[in-house]
């Protein structure tokens, strides 16, 4: 029987440090809003130096905006339990009666504030500075794709968090390892179909792959996007992934906690 009041309070409690931290340490405003535009601009000029069609500018801006969420999942969600263990908070979280997923949900919601600000500002600034031409074909569909992609992505992050809780620095470096390959195979900066059907299909396990592909179809003219699958199918697949990852995260957290308690690694620092 889930005590919803307890879980909601736990979510609120854990989101609070993230939100208040963003207010009290405002350096992220410069570093996470303006400076990432530079990397995006580099990719845009790279495409322009090759004479690429202008729609590719839009692909880069979209991919750059969504990078914020991928990085948030990878670093602020997946690795967070590892950091909590190092600072001594993890054992207090595990001691408390709340669900582990409530802690992670709180982290996600709290972090989503500045992640969304970063993503939105990247998109808006990129749109204005580089003159991205949009052809929004279905605004409701776009919102649905965006939200479902995020839910599925954060569900995946929760699943990773369970691994990192136990496996320490090795898992932290796996996060680092996963960063660029996912940019590549998920088609952050070009249509994923260019990688071939099977690579795209395999990469679809990462929700952002199909999410980006669907958003490209809904934001830009269909003829230039080279979609992998129709966006409605991609949305359905991501819905399935959202449920799958959340359920998997729940089981994985439970199992990893059990393993950690059995091996005595839940409170072991500097692994």
């Amino acid at each position: 029987m889930i005590d919803w009041r307890l879980e909601l309070r736990a979510v609120k409690g854990r989101a609070y440090p993230r939100i208040i931290g963003a207010w009290r340490e405002p350096s992220w405003v410069l570093f996470d809003i303006f400076l990432p535009l530079l990397g995006i601009a580099a990719f845009i000029f790279y495409y322009r130096s090759m004479g690429a069609p202008e729609v590719f500018t839009g692909f880069v801006v979209l991919g750059g905006a969504m990078t914020a969420f991928w990085l948030n999942v990878l670093w602020s969600m997946a690795t967070q339990f590892y950091w909590e263990k190092e600072t001594g908070n993890l054992q207090l979280y595990l001691l408390a009666p709340m669900s582990r997923m409530s802690v992670l949900a709180g982290m996600a919601l709290g972090g989503m504030f500045f992640t969304t600000v970063r993503a939105a500002s990247t998109f808006v600034l990129g749109f204005f500075i580089f003159g991205v031409a949009l052809q929004v074909s279905n605004i409701l569909g776009l919102v649905a794709v965006f939200l479902i992609t995020l839910i599925a992505l954060y569900g995946m992050g929760m699943m990773f968090a369970s691994l990192y809780m136990l496996y320490g620095r090795g898992a932290y470096n796996v996060s680092s390892l996963a960063q660029e390959p996912i940019y590549l195979v998920s088609g952050f900066y070009f249509p994923v179909k260019e990688l071939g059907f099977w690579v795209a299909a395999g990469a679809s396990i990462v929700p952002i792959t199909l999410g980006l592909d669907a958003m490209r179809q809904l934001l830009f003219s269909e003829s230039s996007v080279n979609p992998f699958l129709p966006w409605t199918i991609e949305l359905l697949i991501n819905c399935f992934l959202a449920v799958f990852f959340i359920l998997l995260a729940r089981r994985s957290l439970h199992y990893m906690e059990y393993l950690g308690k059995r091996e005595g690694r839940l409170t072991l620092r500097w692994q």
Partner: protein
């Protein structure tokens, strides 16, 4: 402080950095990590190229320009990122920063020492990336025609310059929250944009080109390309073709000296502020 003391500091800081950078997993995963990460980063750009040109040989000048630039740019990204993380990790994770700070060693030498294992690991990554390019993507590198002296001189000066910029960023890291690791992304992104890493700076607006021409990384990458591709056909698209090797090298030297002075000034001021505001042992992970 004696040169011997500095060298000892560098040696033990390098040893510490190696322990931390290399002992986190079993050797097979470490090898996979060393292979996959640099190649994946490069393949993003390769596929962006192939989406437009369909073949690596369709426009070899653009391809080799991008490939060499991106490969060697890993030094910039990894060293800058790595040195900022040294501060964050020592301060917040291992909580040893204050002990290191008050020790009778040069903190500059400590940071340079911590950079050395990152340079070594990045070098391995770069060599793997270049080998991959030669074997699978027809990258026109010929070991017999590489200008080794020019490359060695450029690498020495370039890496020193990168380390100094890293020291400046490390100073800024003393003042910022751990989540301000956007500093890496931002500064590395700025260099990526303005320094002709993957596209010639001639494609930038005039004002942006002026910025690029003031940054030593621009000249460093140009001279590295010339050294590595010497004999194979240096792509004449960088916008710096009019300068000879010596002129480029001098431009690199002067701009590096300028950045050296600026970096030291930034670090010293950040260091002063960190001590004044009591930030040397702050924890900001939330």
């Amino acid at each position: 402080m004696a040169v011997r003391d500095h060298l000892r500091t560098i040696k033990y800081a390098a040893w510490l950095g190696w322990q931390m950078d290399s002992n986190w997993t079993n050797p097979y995963l470490f090898i996979a990590y060393s292979l996959v990460k640099p190649i994946a980063a490069t393949l993003i750009l390769v596929f962006m190229y192939l989406v437009i040109f369909s073949s690596a040989l369709a426009n070899p000048a653009v391809f080799s320009y991008m490939y060499i630039g991106n490969a060697f740019y890993m030094y910039v990204a990894q060293v800058l990122f790595g040195l900022v993380m040294v501060i964050y990790e020592d301060r917040e994770h291992y909580q040893t920063l204050k002990q290191v700070y008050i020790a009778p060693i040069s903190f500059y030498m400590y940071i340079i020492g911590r950079a050395i294992p990152k340079i070594i690991l990045t070098t391995i990554g770069i060599l793997i990336t270049l080998a991959f390019g030669v074997v699978f993507l027809s990258l026109p590198i010929d070991l017999l025609t590489i200008s080794w002296m020019l490359l060695a001189a450029a690498m020495l000066l370039g890496l020193l310059c990168i380390c100094m910029i890293g020291i400046a960023l490390a100073g800024i890291a003393l003042l910022t929250a751990k989540h301000g690791s956007g500093i890496n992304e931002g500064i590395a992104g700025a260099f990526y944009l303005f320094c002709g890493v993957v596209f010639p700076i001639t494609f930038l607006p005039a004002w942006a080109q002026s910025i690029g021409l003031a940054i030593p990384i621009t000249y460093w990458l140009e001279i590295v390309r010339r050294a590595v591709l010497s004999g194979s056909g240096v792509p004449n698209i960088s916008g710096l073709e009019a300068y000879s090797n010596s002129e480029i090298f001098l431009l690199l030297l002067f701009s590096s000296l300028l950045f050296f002075v600026i970096s030291i000034a930034i670090f010293r001021y950040a260091d002063y502020l960190a001590r004044k505001k009591g930030k040397l042992d702050m924890t900001t992970t939330y």
